[in-house]
C-alpha cells in the first residue's frame, strides 16, 4: 500500500525560512577519527570539489557505472593484494567459480557455458594519489542460444574503491591494501562466490553497508546543492511509517529548483556543510509537508533519497546518475564504509 503525496512547483517561496532560528551549534570539528559511539556523525563535512571543466575522470570509461543499482559493502583491508597480479587473480577466481558450479552452488542451470573473469584497474576512480586505484571484477558469459563467436555478456560486476580514504589507509600496516568500499551489481549468488574467494584469498571481511536515515538526509542536502546542467529530475524522499499493521510508504517529491533554492538559503560557507544546516534543510521540508498534509515526517523513517546526482536506499543500494559527481558520492560512501569497519 503506498500513498503518493507530491508538492507541485507552484510553491516557490517557503515562507517559514525567514522565521527559522539558527540554533546553538557552531561549526563543529571536521571529521577526524571520532568513532565508536552510537550514530555519531561528523558535525561538518567538506563538500567534494566542484567537477573541473575538463573532466579528469574519463566519462567514457565510467559510463558503465551509471544508472545501475549497486549494492554496497564495506571491506576490511586486503592482505598481500597486488595490482600487478590482476590476471593471475582472474584465473584463480575463474577456477574457483568453476569448482563452485561443479559443487552445485551456482544456481542458474544451463544458462552459462563458461564464466569468464576479468579483473582490471580503474586508475581514475580515486580521490588522490594516496588512494589505491579502484579494482573492477567482471563476470561474463555467452548464452548457449547465441552464435559461437558472439560477444560475451557481462552478467555480474563488482568493484572495490577508496576515495579520500587516506586517514584510514595511513594507519594500516605495510602488507595491507585499503579498498574499503565494494559495490556489486548482478545475481546475489555470484556476489557471495566472488566475496568468499576474496575473503579466503586476502583474509578480509565483507559486510553489507546500510545507510542510516541520518546519513540519507546528509546525502539529500549535499546532492541538492550540486549544479546540474540538464533539467534536473525531481528530488524524491521516501519514508516508511513504523508501527502500522500494513506497511505504508510516503513519497515526497520536490521540484529540484525549489529544493536548490531552499538549500541555497540554508548553506552558509561554500565548500562545507554542517549538521545544523542539514537539520534546518530537512526540518523545512518536514514542516512544509506537515502544513499541507498534517503528517509528521520526522516521526517516520527516511528510507530512500533520489536526486539528479544519485539515489540511495537505506538497505545500502546506490545508483549513480551523473558521472561528474561520481567521485564526490564515492567519497561519502567511502567514509561510511570506513566508519562501519572501525
Amino acid at each position: 500500500m503506498s500513498a503518493m503525496e507530491s508538492v507541485d512547483g507552484a510553491v516557490r517561496t517557503l515562507p517559514s525560512i525567514g522565521r527559522l532560528s539558527r540554533g546553538l551549534l557552531s561549526r563543529g570539528l571536521l571529521f577526524g577519527g571520532v568513532h565508536g559511539r552510537v550514530g555519531l556523525s561528523p558535525s561538518s563535512r567538506l563538500l567534494p570539489p566542484a567537477p573541473p571543466s575538463q573532466e579528469n575522470v574519463d566519462s567514457q570509461k565510467t559510463t558503465f557505472l551509471l544508472r545501475k543499482q549497486w549494492t554496497l559493502y564495506s571491506v576490511t583491508p586486503l592482505y598481500r593484494f597486488s595490482d600487478t597480479h590482476l590476471k593471475d587473480y582472474a584465473r584463480l577466481l575463474s577456477a574457483f567459480i568453476a569448482a563452485e558450479k561443479q559443487k552445485g552452488l551456482a544456481v542458474e542451470i544451463g544458462v552459462e557455458l563458461g564464466i569468464k573473469v576479468a579483473i582490471s584497474s580503474l586508475p581514475d576512480l580515486r580521490g588522490s594519489d594516496r588512494d589505491q586505484a579502484a579494482i573492477l571484477v567482471q563476470l561474463s558469459s555467452r548464452s548457449p542460444a547465441s552464435p559461437k563467436n558472439s560477444e560475451e555478456k557481462v552478467i555480474w560486476s563488482g568493484w572495490f574503491c577508496s576515495v579520500s580514504g587516506d586517514d584510514f589507509s595511513e594507519n594500516v600496516p605495510e602488507d595491507f591494501t585499503c579498498l574499503p568500499l565494494f559495490l556489486a551489481n548482478g545475481a546475489e549468488s555470484y556476489t557471495s562466490i566472488v566475496g568468499s574467494w576474496f575473503q579466503k584469498t586476502f583474509d578480509c571481511c565483507f559486510r553489507r553497508l546500510a545507510i542510516s536515515p541520518l546519513n540519507l538526509s546528509w546525502m539529500a542536502a549535499m546532492w541538492t546543492g550540486c549544479k546540474v546542467d540538464k533539467t534536473a529530475s525531481a528530488m524524491e524522499l521516501v519514508f516508511s511509517v513504523p508501527h502500522l499493521p500494513q506497511p505504508l510508504d510516503i513519497s515526497y517529491a520536490i521540484h529540484p529548483e525549489d529544493a536548490k533554492a531552499l538549500w541555497d538559503t540554508v548553506q552558509k560557507t561554500p565548500g562545507e556543510i554542517t549538521q545544523e544546516e542539514v537539520d534546518v534543510f530537512m526540518d523545512c521540508l518536514y514542516s512544509h509537508f506537515h502544513r499541507h498534509f498534517k503528517i509528521r515526517l520526522s516521526a517516520t523513517k527516511l528510507v530512500k533519497v533520489s536526486t539528479a546526482i544519485a539515489s540511495a536506499h537505506c538497505d545500502g543500494i546506490i545508483k549513480f546518475l551523473q558521472s561528474q559527481y561520481l567521485t564526490g558520492v564515492l567519497m561519502l560512501l567511502t567514509e561510511l564504509a570506513i566508519s562501519q569497519i572501525q
Binding site: V38, I211, P213, L214, Q275, Y286
Partner: protein, 131 residues
C-alpha cells in the same frame, strides 16, 4: 505516569501524586521524539534538574536506523545537567535491567534511600559519564 508531552493537563492536578522523577524518552529512530522532548523541557520546573531528570534513549541497538545525531543528545544532557541512559526496548534483558536502574534512581529521587540525595547521585553519575 506516562505522558506523550508536557505540560500535563491541568484538570487532573489535584489528583496527581507528587512527581519525584522525570524520564524523557527519545527514540533514536524518530527525529520527532527529540523535538517533542526539547519542547516539553520548557515546561519543567528548574528544581527538577537537580538530579530528578534523566534522558532515556531507546532503539540504540539499530545503528542503521538512526535518525538523530548523537551530538544533539549529548548536548541536551550537558545543557540540562542530567544523565543520558541508553537502552534497547526490544531486548528483554536490557529492558529489565534498564527498568531496574530507573527504579533505583526513582527510589533515590523519592528520598527512600537514606544518605543518598538526588543531587549527590546526579553529580556522581555525571562525573562517571565524563571519564
Amino acid at each position: 505516569h506516562l505522558a506523550t508531552s508536557l505540560p500535563l493537563p491541568s484538570e487532573r492536578d489535584h489528583l496527581r501524586p507528587r512527581i519525584d522523577m522525570i524520564v524523557f524518552m527519545i527514540d533514536i529512530k524518530s527525529k520527532y521524539s527529540l523535538k517533542n522532548v526539547e519542547a516539553s523541557l520548557a515546561y519543567v520546573d528548574a528544581s527538577f534538574f537537580l538530579g530528578k531528570v534523566c534522558f532515556l534513549v531507546t532503539g540504540v541497538g539499530r545503528v542503521n536506523c538512526c535518525s538523530i545525531e548523537m551530538n544533539a543528545i549529548w548536548k541536551l544532557g550537558e545543557i540540562y545537567s542530567s544523565p543520558v541512559l541508553f537502552c534497547e526496548l526490544e531486548m528483554e534483558g536490557i529492558r529489565v535491567a534498564t527498568a531496574q536502574r530507573l527504579l533505583r534512581m526513582l527510589q533515590i529521587c523519592a528520598g527512600h534511600i537514606p544518605g543518598v540525595s538526588a543531587l549527590s547521585f546526579g553529580s556522581l553519575m555525571r562525573s562517571s559519564a565524563n571519564d
